[in-house]
């Protein structure tokens, strides 16, 4: 709802005002560097990757700084320990880690003398009923969305996360949903890529993950960060000790669609 209102407001502002946009120089401080851990383990493959990086100053010409000497491991509630090895560009991998249902996984990342930990458990996957593409016209401009329809399980809170890959590019975060307003109903999710630019002829892969509440909260803060927010803040991570990023263990599936003239 808030999102629709923002859309309307931005349309309104664009309409009434001869608003103009201009690149400016802002003198920004450098905060103490923070570690960033992206640990997204899925059932898609038994090759699992975890990335460890560090924040960089705003003016840096790199998006983040890779950390090469971290000790990264995942252990499960059955006592198994998986030690990840460094691959480059901040990525650590483990070749044969097949996620099991009803198992609790613990993440441990040690960098010098600092230890960062998190816990996650595999959530049940909610099957998709049908798949399609729809076009919506906003001020005469066509926008395309991949449509996923499914039955939301009743009486339990469910959280969904989508990432997209367009024409073979790397997967990028698209959106997260909860079932606060449609628990137990036949639900449609409209998915687009991160900058809302799907076009005729694109082939899109949508990755759907059923996530836990803390991971949902993290991504929900990311997706609702907007310039109208009075007090932007760092999304709340489920990893201890002040690290940024998230640890998520999910059942995931991918759906491929081609955007075609309707």
């Amino acid at each position: 709802m808030t999102r629709s209102i923002y859309l309307l407001i931005s349309v309104f502002v664009a309409f009434v005002s001869v608003s103009c946009e201009e690149i400016i120089e802002v003198n920004l401080n450098e905060g103490d560097p923070k570690y960033v851990i992206e640990a997204d383990l899925t059932t898609l493959s038994s090759d699992q990757f975890i990335r460890v990086t560090q924040t960089v100053p705003f003016s840096a010409d790199i998006p983040s700084k890779s950390i090469e000497h971290a000790l990264v491991s995942v252990s499960d509630s059955r006592g198994q320990v998986f030690n990840f090895t460094y691959q480059g560009e901040g990525y650590y991998s483990f070749k044969n880690l097949k996620l099991q249902e009803n198992v609790v996984y613990d993440l441990s990342v040690r960098i010098d003398n600092e230890l960062f930990e998190a816990t996650s458990r595999l959530e049940d996957f909610v099957a998709v009923d049908s798949l399609g593409v729809i076009e919506e016209r906003i001020f005469n401009e066509p926008y395309y969305f991949v449509l996923l329809k499914f039955n939301d399980p009743i009486d339990i809170p469910n959280y969904y996360r989508y990432s997209t890959s367009v024409n073979g590019s790397t997967f990028k975060f698209s959106s997260v949903f909860n079932d606060k307003f449609n628990d137990g109903l036949f639900v449609s999710h409209e998915i687009t890529n991160s900058d809302n630019s799907l076009a005729i002829g694109d082939s899109v892969i949508v990755r759907r993950q059923c996530i836990s509440k803390d991971v949902y909260d993290y991504w929900n803060e990311v997706q609702f960060a907007n310039p109208g927010n009075a007090a932007p803040s760092n999304p709340k991570s489920n990893i201890s000790n002040g690290a940024f990023g998230y640890f998520s263990v999910t059942a995931a599936k991918e759906y491929g669609v081609r955007i075609e003239m309707l």
Binding site: I24, G31, A60, P63, R137
Partner: protein, 772 residues
């Protein structure tokens, strides 16, 4: 409460005792042409300190010691009336003043009692009639009282196009805005570009930013008391204007000549008519407009009884095709009965209703739903003024206010893929009693002191939750009805003036105010969808304690007014939010709230010239406003968003000739405190920003010059007047930053950049006004 009654009785008895038996003259002061009563008109016995002014209903009472006296009756913009009266018994004298506007020859202009700003005990107050501010330039040519008061010292501007204002570092929800005594919850149209106050329907505005008198309560930072025009009771009149954005029309006239009158005033914007021209069906079915309707009737039954009924209704409607519509608006209704028990005891009984609602309709494929939210109040007030003698006036009264909040509920159709959600409504009753004594013990000292006692009663039915430190619910309690909790508060008020001589004085003031209605805003511009909450088991009443001291000086035969005021304000039980708080349709909303304290302090300079061809004012505020929350910014003090170090306004109005008058305003203020990133990182291929300190950065400084010119052609006939107003908003086309945001560079995602969005460049406007 018992303590309060004791004080009240003691004060009342002692004042009654000193109210010696003298003759009292009383009555109304009115405009000679329209019969409209004048608020704050001064009645003075020539050559003495005996002076009084009319109340909100134009009534005055003055004691005379001798059987024959010479009276001066004056009001801003009117010719001074000099009249001798012979009195042997208590008698009614009504005075009619002639407006200078209808004078052909230049005559002496009177500004109330000319040194009232020095001698009056009230501090931290401003009073404007619409007539005084008519030549101040405004955006889109729409005169707007909310924009005008933002040019005064200590009143922080809400930013480009905003109707919000921040008084002495307080929040925008801490201002009590009253229209004929009814609370206006949302004073903004079109998200703040216009205010809900149509200038045609408004007579006068009184603003208190400190030393708030005891008859007001409920918001901790300020009171803005707006009175609607009563209506011409001598002849039928019409007035209106055609502008680029909006048009207005006002009709007024007598119901029974000299006894009763009506006024009805409307305004509507028509920007949406251009949408109709579009070929696109979605666009030409879209809506974008607002309207206002003000109406008032009054009838004087006899010398002792007058009845007033007034109301306001306004609505904004935005819609995108048939897919989405969003409307919101305020409604108010006030019925007032003035009763004069005797010359000295004036009573007003008010029954007031007001509400604010918004509705969202979405009909998109299989997702049909509506969202409706409402906040409303019923208010019963009894206010009495006892004019014991010329040095003692006692005001006392009681007030019973019931507020009910029905938060946004979601109503979905049967086939919809959305569930209906119903959030419990909340209500509370605030019972208040006050007494206030305006006292002039000697020629060098005057004061207004008082006490307001309030009892806020949290009402059932409802389910109230308990929360742990992280805001997660850990327990619940259900109540059927009745009073769940009382919050008792005693609010002392004082404003005192030490008059050094007729040209300068030192004033001090103190007030404590409690507030039980809280607005939850987590965006930089407040939206109609902002949630309101009343005090509950978790949410405690907000408090502000404010002390101020000021020096007031007039010179050049009262042509110049100068003042400097310093204040310190402490605010308790302030509200902020947890990161990522979910404020919409959330029954655990209170778990998302954080409570902290605030402090603000500052110095305000004000120099005004109110005589001559050139008049206007300069105001400068040097201030600080901070907040402290245990869970925010590591518990350290941080700047409130509206913290402005420097804030300067210059307003000039110049009468070039009989036909042309010019106006100019210049503003400069320090940019808002804001949170900017101090680094960046990447998660899942998306660049995120790293924030370290709440509100640790500043928006760029804001400045702007507006110009206006008014052309009044020579009056061709007596009845019909017309004038043209030309305006130039942002005359030197300054691109003030409305938003500054950060993003990945389009060509190279590794590089991040900052950009600003400016809202308004130079905007010309023209309005044709008429009157007959």
């Amino acid at each position: 409460m018992r303590y309060f009654l004791l004080v009240f009785t003691a004060l009342f008895l002692s004042i009654s005792a000193i109210a010696q038996e003298k003759i009292t003259i009383s009555g109304y002061v009115k405009d000679a042409a329209s019969g409209e009563v004048l608020i704050g008109a001064v009645v003075q016995i020539k050559g003495t300190q005996s002076v009084t002014s009319t109340n909100n209903y134009g009534y005055y009472a003055l004691q005379v010691a001798e059987p024959s006296v010479e009276l001066f009756v004056s009001f801003v913009g009117y010719q001074v009336l000099e009249q001798s009266v012979n009195v042997t018994e208590n008698k009614r004298y009504n005075f009619e003043l002639v407006s200078l506007e209808n004078q052909l020859e230049e005559v002496v202009v009177s500004m109330k009692k000319q040194n009232d700003n020095v001698t009056n005990a009230q501090m931290g107050a401003f009073n404007f009639t619409m007539e005084e501010v008519k030549n101040i330039p405004v955006v889109f040519g729409e005169r707007d009282i909310l924009k005008t008061i933002q040019l005064l010292p200590g009143i922080g501007k809400g930013g480009e196009g905003s109707s919000n204002f921040y008084v002495r570092g307080g929040g925008s929800d801490q201002n009590l805005i009253l229209l004929d005594e009814a609370t206006v919850y949302n004073a903004a149209h079109l998200l703040g570009f216009f205010s809900t106050f149509n200038s045609d329907a408004i007579k006068d505005v009184e603003l208190y930013k400190g030393g708030v008198p005891a008859q007001y309560g409920g918001r901790v930072s300020s009171v803005m008391d707006i009175n609607m025009v009563d209506g011409n009771n001598k002849k039928f009149a019409a007035e209106g204007g055609l502008g680029l954005i909006a048009s207005r029309l006002k009709l007024e006239g007598p119901i029974v000549k000299d006894k009763g009158s009506f006024m009805i005033s409307g305004r509507r914007t028509y920007a949406d008519l251009f949408l109709k021209l579009s070929n696109d069906e979605t666009v030409n079915q879209s809506k974008l407009y607002f309207y206002d309707l003000n109406a008032k009737v009054n009838y004087r039954f006899n010398d002792k009884n007058t009845l007033y009924a007034s109301g306001y209704f306004g609505k904004d409607d935005l819609g995108y095709g048939k897919l989405f519509s969003f409307d919101w608006g305020n409604a108010t209704a006030t019925v007032r009965w003035n009763h004069i028990f005797n010359e000295k005891l004036f009573s007003n009984t008010s029954l007031i209703y007001s509400d604010f609602t918004y509705n969202v309709n979405v009909s998109n494929n299989d997702r049909d739903f509506t969202i409706a939210s409402k906040i409303e109040n019923f208010n019963l007030k009894e206010d009495l003024s006892y004019y014991a003698n010329n040095n003692n006036t006692l005001r006392f009264g009681i007030n019973l206010l019931r507020q009910k909040i029905s938060p946004a509920s979601l109503n979905a159709g049967e086939e919809s893929s959305v569930n209906s959600i119903d959030i419990e409504s909340r209500s509370g009753i605030e019972a208040a009693a006050y007494i206030s004594h305006e006292w002039k013990p000697s020629s060098w000292l005057s004061m207004i002191y008082g006490l307001r006692a309030t009892d806020f009663m949290v009402q059932g039915p409802g389910t109230f939750y308990e929360y742990d430190e992280d805001g997660d619910p850990i327990g619940e309690q259900s109540f059927d009805g009745g009073v769940i909790k009382h919050y008792f508060n005693l609010e002392p008020r004082l404003s005192l003036s030490v008059i050094l001589n007729s040209e300068h004085s030192v004033k001090i003031s103190y007030n404590r105010i409690a507030q039980n209605l809280h607005q939850l805003t987590n965006t930089t511009s407040s939206l109609p969808t902002d949630q309101y909450v009343v005090s509950s088991l978790n949410i405690k009443p907000q408090f502000a304690d404010q002390a101020a001291i000021g020096y007031f000086r007039n010179f050049g035969n009262n042509a110049y007014e100068f003042s400097v005021e310093g204040y310190y304000k402490f605010m308790d039980n302030q509200i902020d939010f947890r990161n990522g708080a979910d404020l919409q349709a959330n029954k655990y909303l209170e778990g998302e709230l954080l409570y902290g304290i605030g402090r603000s302090y500052g110095l305000e300079w004000y120099l005004r010239k109110s005589k001559g061809k050139l008049n206007g004012w300069i105001s400068y505020t040097l201030a600080k406003s901070e907040r402290q929350f245990e869970q925010i910014n590591d518990g350290d003090w941080f700047n409130a968003r509206q913290d402005r170090t420097h804030d300067i306004s210059v307003v000039g109005m110049y009468e070039l000739s009989k036909k042309w008058s010019l106006g100019a305003t210049f503003l400069y203020y320090t940019g808002n405190a804001i949170t900017f990133p101090s680094g960046k990182y990447q998660v899942d291929g998306r660049t995120l920003f790293y924030y370290t300190e709440r509100n640790g950065y500043r928006m760029p400084d804001y400045h702007r010059l507006d110009l206006s010119a008014t052309y009044e052609p020579k009056k061709e006939n007596k009845r019909f007047h017309s004038s043209w107003s030309f305006g130039l908003y942002n005359a030197y086309n300054r691109r003030n930053a409305y938003i500054i945001d950060f993003r990945e560079n389009e060509d190279n995602a590794n590089v991040t950049e900052a950009y600003k969005v400016a809202l308004f460049g130079i905007i010309p406007s023209v309005t044709w006004n008429f009157k007959f």
